[in-house]
């Protein structure tokens, strides 16, 4: 078994003008997805990220503070799952709730170094 990270990329919820009702129904979908992974015993962890961004870049360590409104897409969070291979994770990612909002799941394998 290997570990993979599912990285969620898309617009920030705050910028989509979702109503309380829509937020709740989305919530329900996240709950059932999390529950499904839990039951399958594949979920190893994960976090949601706040939309504030501080970027430090380049030789001069240039600092830029950004909000989600200033970037088109933002990493909203990630899950770490245990799976056989990419195909297996792809299957798990079928239930990601935000495809209809233009969301993307990026699947990356966690690198393991031989001792």
């Amino acid at each position: 078994m290997k570990e993979f990270m599912m990285i969620f990329v898309g617009a920030d919820y705050a910028d989509l003008g979702l109503s309380p009702e829509e937020l709740q129904s989305r919530m329900g979908k996240w709950f059932s997805w999390g529950d499904k992974m839990e039951k399958a015993g594949v979920l190893r962890g994960g976090n949601a990220l706040t939309p504030d961004i501080r970027r430090v870049s380049g030789e001069h360590r240039t600092v830029t503070d950004l909000t989600s409104a200033e970037v088109k897409e933002i990493v909203g969070g990630y899950y770490i799952v245990e799976a056989k291979d990419m195909d297996h994770v792809q299957e798990i990612a079928q239930d990601f709730p935000d495809y209809d909002l233009g969301g993307t799941v990026e699947i990356r394998e966690i690198m393991v170094f031989d001792e």
Binding site: P20, E21, F31, S32, D35
Partner: protein, 412 residues
């Protein structure tokens, strides 16, 4: 474990929290408050993805409480007038405002604000759906079959009037209460009817509007000063109509008239609830139009088949309605009832009394009824002539289709 959220928890909680915060900070800050609460829900959605709380409702209330201080700082920084929260007693008072009974009280204040007579009646509905019920612009637009832009305009107009007139966030007292309560009932009834008579294909949206009107009506019934026989009667009307909503249209969203409705789809728990409300409603001495409308709806529900409808009883209720408010629509309804009861001459006499222009947008109903009358007399050219007039005037697409179907049957 997957926590199960109560249906519409977010939407309802939004309305509750906005009301409580407005009670603390005042209507002047309504927009800021609405944004702050919306933000709370977004935060909840994001943080719950990984660790759902054990008590979602308590979590949301706590989050709203935390907002109080945020808002206080924010408004102060913007040099806005804010209540003094620094003293101990004020802070305790704020805690109490988050108790269930006080939340209900705040919500009632919001409903009464939404129904202030200075607000344009159309703006009242949108404003109530937004601030009391937690619908978004898009959802209100979809429910009322209007453009989102129109809704935004109505809401901003309502806010402007509230600021300009210095509308207070209170439940009026004495004589003012009964006037305003009438306006509240009217708005709730309109919201209900928007749902009940909507041509919207999705039954869900229609049901949501009806359910929201009923929920707010129930809220009125929990409060002593608004627990009047008339409000009970309004609630009964809503129950009786809502019981039939599934049978009003068929699978193709075609309108089904009472004769063709599948009576086994009627939802009897709601009928029972309506009956209970009706018993309370008749404890008072005065009967309102809601009382008579409920009585008429109840007669239809009592009949096990269309043929067994007690038309004479219904006619009597319409006569009472007409005595209360002499409106042409009641005469028209009496004519329809007489026609169903096969008292053709009486029906025709009633129709003769009517000046169709007084019916306004419902003029097509007059011509459709006249056509029905001629049909019973087997005077087909007249029947066709008047159904054509009705078809020219009808705007509701479902009703148009219904009339077209009838016309086709006439010429076959």
């Amino acid at each position: 474990m997957e926590p199960k959220l109560i249906d519409h928890l977010f939407r309802h909680h939004y309305g509750k929290m906005v009301s409580v915060l407005v009670r603390i900070f005042g209507l002047a800050h309504l927009e800021t408050i609405e944004d702050a609460i919306q933000d709370t829900f977004i935060k909840a959605t994001i943080s719950w993805k990984n660790t759902p709380p054990e008590h979602p409702e308590a979590w949301l209330t706590q989050a709203a409480k935390n907002r109080v201080l945020d808002l206080f700082r924010k408004l102060k920084a913007a040099h806005k007038r804010v209540p003094n929260l620094t003293t101990g007693t004020e802070t305790i008072a704020i805690q109490e405002l988050f108790l269930d009974t006080e939340i209900e009280d705040s919500q009632l204040r919001m409903i009464f604000t939404a129904c202030h007579p200075r607000l344009n009646p159309k703006d009242r509905i949108s404003f109530a759906l937004k601030t009391v019920s937690g619908f978004s612009h898009k959802e209100i637009a979809a429910a009322l079959l209007t453009k989102e832009e129109t809704i935004k305009k109505r809401l901003s107009r309502a806010r402007t009037v509230i600021q300009r007139e210095g509308v207070s966030f209170k439940i009026p007292q004495g004589k003012a209460l009964s006037n305003r309560l009438n306006s509240v009932m009217e708005v709730l009834y309109l919201i209900f009817n928007e749902g009940f008579h909507s041509t919207k294909k999705e039954l869900l949206i229609r049901k949501e509007l009806c359910a929201e009107a009923m929920r707010l009506c129930q809220l009125l019934l929990t409060h002593k000063s608004t627990q009047t026989p008339k409000v009970y009667a309004l609630f009964a009307v809503m129950c009786f109509h809502a019981a039939r909503i599934d049978s009003k249209t068929n699978h193709d969203n075609e309108l089904m008239d009472l004769r063709h409705q599948n009576r086994s789809l009627w939802y009897f728990p709601l009928v029972a609830l309506g009956n209970t409300a009706m018993h309370k409603a008749v404890e008072g001495a005065d009967f309102s139009s809601y009382h008579y409308e409920a009585a008429i709806a109840a007669e239809h529900l009592k009949a096990s088949s269309f043929e067994k409808t007690n038309w004479k009883a219904i006619l009597k209720w319409y006569q009472h309605l007409y005595e209360l408010e002499p409106m042409s629509i009641y005469i028209l309804n009496m004519a329809v009832v007489q026609l169903q009861d096969k008292r053709f001459r009486e029906s025709y006499q009633l129709l003769q009394q009517l000046v169709p222009e007084t019916l306004g947008q419902r003029r097509y109903l007059y011509y459709a009824t006249l056509s029905d009358y001629y049909l019973t007399q087997e005077e087909y050219p007249n029947a066709i002539k008047y159904i054509d007039l009705a078809l020219d005037l009808v705007t509701n697409l479902q009703e148009k289709k219904y009339l077209e179907k009838k016309r086709v049957a006439m010429i076959l």
